[in-house]
């Protein structure tokens, strides 16, 4: 199982429709300061159900919607979709590919999708429990977060280990 593709539109600095096709193995992302690399990490966390806007460096839930520049107007919606290869059947679904999508409007309301069908956040969480992609997972390490493993309290470490077991 691996991440095949991500599509974003209106998510943070990804104002235009953007699609990235990933390969198994090592994919390296480079680029100047402030260009959107960590916003990509936020997009993956958000589509997997992250609801604490502080974990996405914002203050209110609409902070993930492109809010304009000197030249371009703010948008009214953000949407992200990732496609995971499920040929090995790791996810408890009968599909060889699993698409997870999320949309948000200026009103602050989010919609979740699983293979294009509208679902609730609870359904997304159920699909991903135990895969290491959950809340205390060790599979996404944001900028400056590496040392949390050492800085956290012993109980925090136990939670990471319980997620992995």
């Amino acid at each position: 199982m691996y991440l095949k593709k991500i599509e974003m539109k209106g998510f943070k600095s990804f104002a235009e429709h953007t699609e990235i096709i990933f390969k198994p193995g090592i994919n390296v992302v480079v680029g100047p300061n402030g260009c959107g690399k960590s916003n990509l990490v936020d997009a993956v966390r958000w589509v997997l159900g992250e609801n604490n806007i502080r974990e996405l460096r914002g203050q209110k839930s609409e902070d993930v919607i492109f809010n304009g520049t000197d030249k371009f107007r703010a948008l009214s919606m953000a949407s992200v979709e990732i496609v995971l290869d499920n040929a090995d059947g790791l996810l408890p679904l009968d599909y060889s590919e699993v698409a997870v999508g999320r949309k948000i409007f200026r009103s602050g309301e989010s919609e979740f999708y699983l293979n294009k069908a509208r679902v609730r956040l609870k359904d997304i969480n159920k699909v991903f429990t135990g895969t290491g992609l959950g809340k205390c997972g060790y599979s996404i390490i944001g900028q400056g977060e590496l040392e949390e493993v050492l800085n956290g309290a012993p109980m925090d470490r136990r939670l990471i280990l319980e997620e992995a077991s």
């Binding site: 198994p24 994919n27 290491g132 944001g142 590496l146 992995a164 077991s165």
Partner: protein, 158 residues
Amino acid sequence: MHREFISFLDQANKSFKKTFTEIFGGGDAVLRLENAEDKLSAGVEIEVKMPGKKTQALSLLSGGERALTCIAFIFALLRLKPVPFCLLDEIDAALDETNLTRFARFIRKMAEEVQFIIISHRQAMMEAGEIVYGITMPEKGVSSVLTLSMNDIESRAG
């Protein structure tokens, strides 16, 4: 539940010791349950010994030693239980060139089991990738993504 966790902790400890000594080329590392009254809510402590040095409080480790110790911990868990993909945002920032090369070599080995998406400013990491994506802002404030081949990197990387 608790017996299961203890047996998993034992496996994690062995994996951590093996991964740590592989990455550092020596030394020692331990994961163990805290000495708490109530075993069910006891946390997990980490103790490491750098090659040639004495075991010391974690707080005395250097920036690079702490980063590599955390990397060893994460990779130890990945070995026990692979995840669909692993997304890492500039976790190599504190490493010197020697440790960066060690880390890049280690990632290459792990990449046979797990997909990595790695954000980095470091040359040695860019060269480790099979495929490189450049994220730039031709229009200030609007991100745009290019897929680069290896020889494009010199002129575009940030």
